[in-house]
Symmetry: C2
Subunit: 456 residues, 2 copies
């Protein structure tokens, strides 16, 4: 029977001196005259396992000794405990079979590769320690988010990706079309949907419709931005989680966000110990302490006004000066989390800085918005109570030049039982970057899309 390395790692003692069959890929192969060592990774665990093979045992010793890095093999052998070594066991091979040969010029040799090089080899980079760990954590975080909401009886909905709305009214959009690009076209009546369509920048508006039927809902899906900015924090295609809850106000909304962030970190601690140790050692020193600090802190809640009071007092420290009415710069966000020694919600932002659907406060100047800032990374979550009053919503749409042609249904939600509701958006990649310490968004997406880059 084939056994996964993960299972042997979890129940090492049970497998001691047992014969097992493992299938995986060679990370390294060092042979001497009469014996050799293979580092084998089978993908089920972060750890690679040492295979010891000997000429006196294997008929095909000479061939095995020449197996290239990257080759797939099947190994039958005995589990030998190695309490003094880094890995708790090794496998003494009795049979090794080549399952898939690798050529000598395999790009992922057992040495240090630059992240740029690995990006160009994204089809192979999951076979390195770093990306094996990153994408396992990505999977664990994704499932943790689903678990968190499902355990709380939320309904998972799939918001549409192709849309005629421009919900945020911000940023450039990818057009979606089946028209012949060689022919100029002004009118989209002949296009697939009979109108101009684009890729969605948010699933929130449709999630609101569902929240006003199911009370507690969330989306988990891709979103798209056609911004030509080449930064380490922006990708053209990324994944968002957008919970939306009827009868929730801004405070409830923050409670939920705080609980979710702590839950996700908790699940990573439970499921990815080896990965966290690796990140802590090689990617971001102090990572584990940073995450524990988030878990243990009650998140601070301050208004934008209060934030500005603090920041303007220390304007001498900033390259970009903090100015009342302006958005916060990354350095301001970092300052605030440092000032409070932990995560900080900033609430009640000037309405001009935020989207049309956020609820106007009684002061008529600010909206019931919240941004969650976390130490070292800045903004992780953005959300708000939604404007449920039709007249306020329409007035904001007019002022912000949001066309209501395709949003008749969104206004309908306010006419027919449109009560208080709130929600937020979490960028999945932001969360992964925060938890792993990896500082480039291209390195936490399996096959990233950025301006001029659409390989794989």
């Amino acid at each position: 029977m084939d056994v996964e390395v993960k299972k042997i790692l979890v129940n090492t003692k049970e497998y001691a001196n047992k014969l097992v069959k493992i299938k995986g890929w060679i990370r390294n192969n060092r042979s001497q005259k009469e014996f050799g060592f293979i580092d084998l990774n089978d993908g089920t665990a972060f750890e690679s396992i040492q295979i010891v093979y000997e000429d006196k045992v294997l008929d095909n010793f000479k061939e095995v000794a020449k197996y290239n890095v990257g080759s797939a093999i099947s190994v039958e052998g005995k589990v030998v405990l190695t309490p003094k070594m880094k890995q708790p066991f090794e496998i003494k091979a009795e049979e090794i079979i080549l399952e898939g040969n690798s050529l000598e010029d395999y790009p992922i040799q057992p040495k240090r590769h630059s992240r740029e090089f690995l990006r160009e080899n994204a089809h192979f980079r999951s076979r390195t320690n770093l990306f094996n760990a990153v994408f396992r954590v990505r999977s664990v975080i994704s499932f943790a988010i689903h678990k968190f909401f499902q355990e709380r009886n939320f309904i998972y909905l799939h918001s549409p990706l192709i849309t005629a709305n421009d919900a945020e009214g911000a940023g450039e959009l990818f057009q979606v079309s089946t028209l012949d690009s060689e022919k100029p076209e002004k009118d989209f009546v002949n296009d697939f949907f009979g109108k101009k369509t684009n890729l969605s920048v948010t699933g929130q508006l449709q999630a609101e419709a569902f929240a006003l039927a199911f009370k507690k809902v969330y989306t988990f899906g891709p979103t798209f931005r056609a911004e030509k900015s080449n930064t380490t924090r922006h990708a053209s295609e990324f994944w968002m989680i957008e919970p939306e809850v009827a009868f929730f106000d801004l405070q409830d909304n923050m409670d939920l966000a705080e609980e979710m962030v702590k839950y996700v970190i908790d699940e990573v601690f439970k499921n990815c110990q080896s990965e966290l140790q690796f990140f802590n050692k090689f990617v971001e020193k102090g990572l584990i302490e940073k995450l524990k600090n988030v878990q243990n802190k009650t998140f601070i809640r301050i208004t934008y006004k209060k934030a500005l009071e603090i920041l303007t007092k220390h304007n001498n420290k900033f390259t970009i000066k903090a100015v009342d009415g302006n958005d916060l710069a990354t350095e301001h966000e970092k300052y605030l989390t440092k000032h409070y020694g932990g995560p900080v919600f900033v609430t009640d932002w000037p309405k001009n800085l935020k989207a049309f659907y956020m609820r106007l406060n009684d002061d008529k100047e600010t909206v019931a918005a919240m941004d969650l800032l976390v130490p070292l990374a800045g903004e992780l979550i953005g959300g708000s109570q939604r404007e449920e009053r039709l007249d306020c919503l329409e007035s904001r749409m007019r002022k912000m030049n949001v066309s209501d042609q395709d949003l008749w249904w969104y206004k309908d939600l306010r006419k027919y039982g449109g009560n208080k509701h709130s929600g937020y958006g979490l960028g999945l990649e932001r969360m992964i970057m925060y938890v792993t310490g990896v500082d480039n968004i291209r390195d936490v997406i399996p096959f990233p899309r950025t301006p001029k880059h659409c390989e794989f």
Copy 2:
């Protein structure tokens, strides 16, 4: 404290005679002179709850009596057990507050609406019994699929949605572009990605790259088809689950698919009893029996050749005659499942009927493909062992006119440790239609996209 209806339904006795506060939407409101009844649904459960309100208790009895259907209210009252009635309890209201008013012309009145009408009101249709049930089951199935794979140590990966590949070589594609549509453009060098890009029809190819690093992986994401076919089984945007496992052959692949289908049905039975009863009564008579039959049967496995033997013998029964070398028609699929009285895998299809990446069998005429056919619905899953031999793959790509310009990395996977591997695709909507009995794909997608339809 607000209480969810779901919680009271699960622990009814605990709440007996207790004071609770419930928030939800009015499905119906019938008032007489001194008392009235509201059917309230709070979205957390399929069941609506009866609220009894009386003039002698409420200060605002006259207003409450006039609350329109669709309005959001908050009700404080006592839980009274009603063992003789359909619902196990009702609420005797002590206070009712209007949280969100609904106008009188609210489209979802307490009467039968056609599915066409509800599609035009997709922003409200989740507030009906049918769609409340459908989209709850959609959520439960989605999570069940995640659970199934995560419990088995699979890695969830997000395959890219924007791509330069046309993986299946089949069907029309949606182009993705930021070019000005009013100007003709032959060359995509100035487009966002510097080349022609489209929306992906499958995440499988990238999943293969991950499977050859992590062994067991799955995708769960949207896919897109720009086919102008207006059938009840096709949408332009739908969700797919694509597991891919290294070292798996076609038999292992079928084992996994069978286990998954049974697991998902099991989870729906565990979590959606009321919904299933509703579907069984009002949507598809015999649904529950059909699903139990799938759970209890070992799925039959026959070759395409064997299937044709059976079908050609009964060609007098078919509108489209079964012909060796042709694809199976829906009536053939249904005949086979009826013939065997349960789900049937059909394997080893003529190579010309299947995609380039499927593994050529030793007969050089068939490929190691499998389709899972289920009673009444036909094809639910399609999969195959993948061609891991570079020369065979290249020859198939040439013969099927698959451009390899953007698939260099896919061929690389065969050069460097490309071992045996297999996978399949499950259309989420197909599964939901099968489990709910709903026969139009537009009615199992929150906001469906089909030719000429991109509302909401």
